[in-house]
């Protein structure tokens, strides 16, 4: 990652997806994923259509495939869970290569894998095409409580500072021989984490006092820049409508 920890997965290129306001992307992608999640697992063709849409989104957003694939590894623990499902689920059994598997378990594993994968790629499209600042203004536009947006903005602003603190403390600790390998080093690692809390807390107090000194009245100034135009909302709605049609068709027609 080139940017600081506060930049998330943001990939700074110019694309139609990047230019869309964050609130439109957020609503459209959540709507899309809800449609994906409510599609019955046995409607295999529907997931092919969804995968096509998601790949098209990634290409339109000009995201490097390597970034997307690397980030998809966050799914791994649940992939393991999904692969276990055919062996532990109840219901009628089928024989595959001499191994007895549960039918509903196989379908369930497919269900978790395909929906989880589509969901994580949708989330990657959102996070890679939206800068943290745009995301905050989008959340503010979506009427997230102002206090929560303010807390979020401070977290995003300071996460790289706090991570930097942690990094320096780690270097200092390891250069004194506490590389955190054995249980005996827990005390040293935890003391670092404790000190990090005290430092962060005190920094929070200092930031607040500095804000008061500069005339902070208890309300953060609004960050929202411009409203999304009707055309932009239409583009977002298009994605949801297509997904909805596929989901409804999958329910009616079935597999």
């Amino acid at each position: 990652m080139t940017g600081g920890a506060g930049d998330g997965l943001y990939v700074a290129v110019d694309s139609p997806v990047h230019r869309l306001p964050a609130q439109v992307k957020l609503v459209a992608l959540v709507g899309f994923v809800i449609c994906v999640v409510s599609t019955p697992a046995h409607a295999f063709w529907a997931f092919g259509v969804y995968a096509g849409i998601v790949v098209a989104l990634v290409m339109t957003a000009k995201l490097p495939a390597a970034t997307v694939l690397r980030r998809m590894t966050v799914e791994t623990p649940f992939v393991v869970f999904a692969l276990l499902l055919p062996f532990v689920a109840a219901g009628p059994q089928v024989d595959v290569l001499g191994v007895s598997l549960s039918e509903s378990g196989v379908l369930g594993a497919w269900n978790v894998l395909v929906k989880g994968t589509l969901g994580v790629v949708a989330a990657i499209v959102l996070s890679a095409s939206t800068s943290p600042r745009d995301l905050l203004t989008g959340l503010e536009r979506l009427r997230l409580p102002r206090t929560l947006v303010a807390i979020l903005s401070f977290m995003i602003r300071y996460v790289s500072v706090v991570s930097g603190d942690l990094q320096r403390m780690r270097v200092a600790r390891e250069s004194r021989g506490y590389d955190g390998g054995s249980l005996g080093h827990l005390r040293a690692v935890a003391a670092g984490a404790g000190a990090l809390f005290v430092r962060s807390y005190e920094r929070g107090e200092r930031v607040h006092l500095a804000m008061l000194a500069r005339g902070y009245t208890g309300m953060m100034p609004s960050m929202a820049r411009r409203q999304a135009t009707a055309a932009e909302w239409r583009r977002g709605a298009g994605l949801v409508v297509v997904a909805l049609l596929v989901a409804v068709a999958a329910r009616v027609v079935g597999g």
Partner: protein, 349 residues
């Protein structure tokens, strides 16, 4: 650890989303005074701390290292409501900026890893602190037990959600046993890390630890004549009941009344049914309000039975609230008339 999309079905995800929104709303209200006094920067930096410390590898014995989930630690350090906000913000950033956990599973993740771990951790810690000796030394073991309990409870809550909206037909008993068994192990790691980090904070700045604030010793001042003055420490900021909770309560009640009425059966209720069976149905007198526009929970003049039922539910709640407010108003007027002769108690600054 984050639940991805598709693990739970859409209705369950939407329901946990509503729960998460409600819980975050409540904690915004309960923490509003704290946030106003110490600023959003403090909560934001605490969130940044939790985010950073979740990435630290803690050695937890047997050559393995563990990661902190941080719910119970946040609750012990900054209190349940601010802690809940902090954890929710961390999960929001992880979901929206790092694609960690699904978009539709955001509510599930905030409910399980935010609300459940913070609240269970806090309640266990506070309960133990009430039973343990009132010393600073009690804080760390109490919080460790809180952390230990919070993780398997969150796993159990996940199992419950899975039973309600899981995609696969699993034996829930087996799933619960496996989840709790595995998460007790994770919980032990969480307890060890929480205790180690918290004891480092308690050793240097016990005044920052929320659950230890009531344990601070009195400040004893001795002047040059040898007279001693005792100054008690600042009391923690108490959450103040806010007027807006009434509004939220009304809104939720209306919503429930409206939605539940959609499903309300138009069939006679149990007692009416039994009555009809036993033959004294005819003897039952028509209720005095039978001719009223709300009779039999439907609004007359509206053809659609469902809409009419929902409207009736909402109107019923509004009327009930109106009557309640009227009674309360009359009671308070009477009390004011009685106490009019007495002097007003001096208001505290």
């Amino acid at each position: 650890m984050h639940v991805p999309d598709g693990f739970l079905n859409a209705p369950t995800s939407l329901a946990t989303g509503a729960i998460a929104a409600g819980v975050v709303g409540i904690s915004l209200q309960r923490a509003s005074r704290e946030v106003r006094e110490s600023g959003p920067a403090l909560a934001g930096l605490t969130a940044a701390f939790v985010f950073a410390v979740q990435m630290v590898n803690f050695p937890v014995g047997a050559g393995t290292s563990g990661h902190l989930l941080g719910g119970a630690l946040a609750a012990a350090l900054v209190g349940p409501w601010t802690g809940l906000l902090v954890m929710s913000v961390v999960l929001l950033v992880q979901g929206l900026l790092f694609a960690d956990g699904g978009l539709t599973a955001l509510g599930t993740n905030i409910t399980l890893m935010g609300a459940v771990t913070v609240l269970v951790g806090f309640l266990v810690t506070r309960g133990l602190l009430r039973a343990m000796p009132k010393r600073l030394g009690s804080v760390v073991p109490a919080a460790a037990v809180g952390a230990l309990v919070s993780v398997p409870i969150a796993a159990l809550a996940f199992t419950g959600l899975y039973a309600a909206g899981g995609a696969v037909d699993l034996s829930i008993g087996r799933l619960a046993a496996a989840m709790v068994g595995w998460h007790v192990l994770i919980g032990i790691g969480e307890a060890v890390i929480t205790a180690a980090v918290l004891s480092a904070v308690v050793a240097t700045r016990p005044d920052l630890v929320y659950v230890a604030r009531h344990l601070q010793a009195d400040l004893v001042l001795v002047d040059d004549q040898g007279r001693t003055t005792t100054v008690s420490p600042d009391r923690p900021v108490a959450a103040k009941p806010a007027g807006r909770s009434l509004g939220a309560g009304v809104a939720i009640t209306l919503l429930i009344a409206g939605v539940v009425s959609l499903f309300a059966s138009a069939n006679p209720d149990g007692l009416e049914f039994v009555g009809a069976k036993l033959g004294f149905g005819e003897a039952a007198k028509e209720s005095a309000v039978a001719g009223s526009p709300l009779a039999d929970y439907g609004v007359s003049g509206i053809g659609n039975g469902h809409v009419s039922g929902a409207l009736a539910g909402i109107i019923g709640v509004l009327v009930t609230i109106g009557v309640g407010l009227l009674v309360a108003k009359m009671a308070s007027l009477r009390r004011r008339a009685e106490s009019a002769s007495e002097p007003e108690p001096a208001s505290r600054a």
